[in-house]
Point group: C2
DNA sequence: CCGTATTTGTCCGTATGTATG
DNA sequence: ACATACATACGGACAAATACG
């Protein structure tokens, strides 16, 4: 029998998780985030299966995983739909993101090395440079790297993963067209406050700076446009 | 064609998600949290299928979802294992939980009604009563209700769900036997600080009280026992 | 080190439920 | 309102990989 001979796997073999389902999960995720299908649109199982030249089984499993992750929504007997993020849900997500990023900042403040601090300052300078030219295509990736670096320096993988998931879900909203464009300088000023809090290793101040930075992003979203009108489905599964 | 005729589903029909897979997901989750299978142990797909008198398809889908949720771990060609939470992972989870609960407290402080405040005080009194008798079986559910109430009063479903998931994952660790038993009075004293911060609607103070309360729980865990020895798997999939 | 048994991975067929004309 | 077409849900079977003797 198996009993105790079956033990938990090491963390390493998760990386080369080369099952067909996990590959599909990644691919479908890419499709979703690429915006090929708009929010609310339906994904056809068979179409996906033929597209990747596989059977529907792995596709279903991959979709089930993505549903749990909040990227798609599964309706019994109707199929899988790209998750629609309403404005209020986006606002909720921003609060969660603020909680996680703020805490990442707090932990980072307690653990950051001088080298890491210097690296962050480099990113600040680079953002200042491109912000001056109002180049959002240049600014965005550096901004992303800044946030990811902070999350990394917190040395808490669980926290970082939760943060990434949160950001990913918000991409579904951003894809709707409501991109928080403006505010380079003000954004980078907030970044600077975070780094300064790191420099003096002030945990609470770092938290608050990170928390408020995300909250500012939320406010920009909420102020822009009217957001998606809550278009009612023609008919949910009535039973 | 489908085009726009297919719109996103309303939030309501998620509740009666009566597909076989989602039922299995709930059932298997119950099995895991009940401790019927210890952490690291393997779940046999066919055994689960016959147990619930269903095919392996829905079982596999349910397990995929649980894997994404972090309750089980899927290893290609080897199967599904109950997730093993090491002490360091538990510590990381506590930081995340602290972030979420602290933020829930912060939001609650901004939105709590007098009635809700009164309800919390009732829970405090009840916990004091059972703490006096050192009755952990009585204390635990009230303690749980207190935390859930606070999470609810924050009026942020996304946050609450993330918090619940976090707590659920920590149950996998608690199930190992390292229950944070002691400290009734000190715990309820922290509860009282949270409620007092609510009473004066101090957001930052509420956050810090909630954050530190969870952190205290973390410290109790870390201090207890040596934690699970990292028993190495006999052989990972070598390829 | 090799053969066998068991388990997982994948695919396909049928039934049921939903949307459309 | 009814019938038709189509997509999903589930079950079962075959192939591949792994574990054990």
């Amino acid at each position: 029998m198996y009993e105790q001979s079956q033990t938990a796997p090491s963390d390493l073999d998760l990386l080369k998780n080369s099952s067909l389902t996990s590959i599909l999960q990644t691919e479908i995720e890419k499709i979703i985030l690429s915006g090929e299908f708009g929010p609310g649109e339906r994904l056809n199982e068979k179409a996906l299966a033929t597209r990747f030249s596989v059977s529907r089984g792995p596709v279903r499993e991959a979709c089930r995983a993505l549903a749990e992750r909040g990227l798609v929504k599964l309706i019994p007997n109707r199929g899988v739909f790209i998750r629609e993020i309403t404005k209020s849900e986006a606002a909720e997500l921003y609060d969660v993101r603020a909680a996680l990023f703020g805490t990442a900042c707090r932990l980072t403040a307690e653990r950051i090395t001088d080298q890491e601090l210097a690296d962050l300052r480099v990113l600040l300078a680079r953002m200042d440079a491109v912000a001056y030219r109002r180049d959002i295509d240049e600014y965005y990736p550096i901004n992303l790297e800044f946030h990811n670096s902070v999350a990394k320096y917190a040395r808490n993988n669980t926290l970082m993963q939760a943060y990434r998931e949160c950001v990913e879900k918000l991409h579904l909203f951003r894809a709707r067209g409501l991109i928080h464009g403006g505010g380079f300088e003000v954004s980078n000023k907030e970044h600077r406050q975070i780094v300064e809090a790191f420099a003096v290793r002030d945990a609470l101040k770092s938290f608050e700076a990170g928390y408020q930075h995300v909250q500012e992003g939320k406010i920009r979203i909420l102020m822009s446009g009217e957001g998606p009108r809550a278009k009612q489905p023609p008919a949910g599964p009535r039973n």
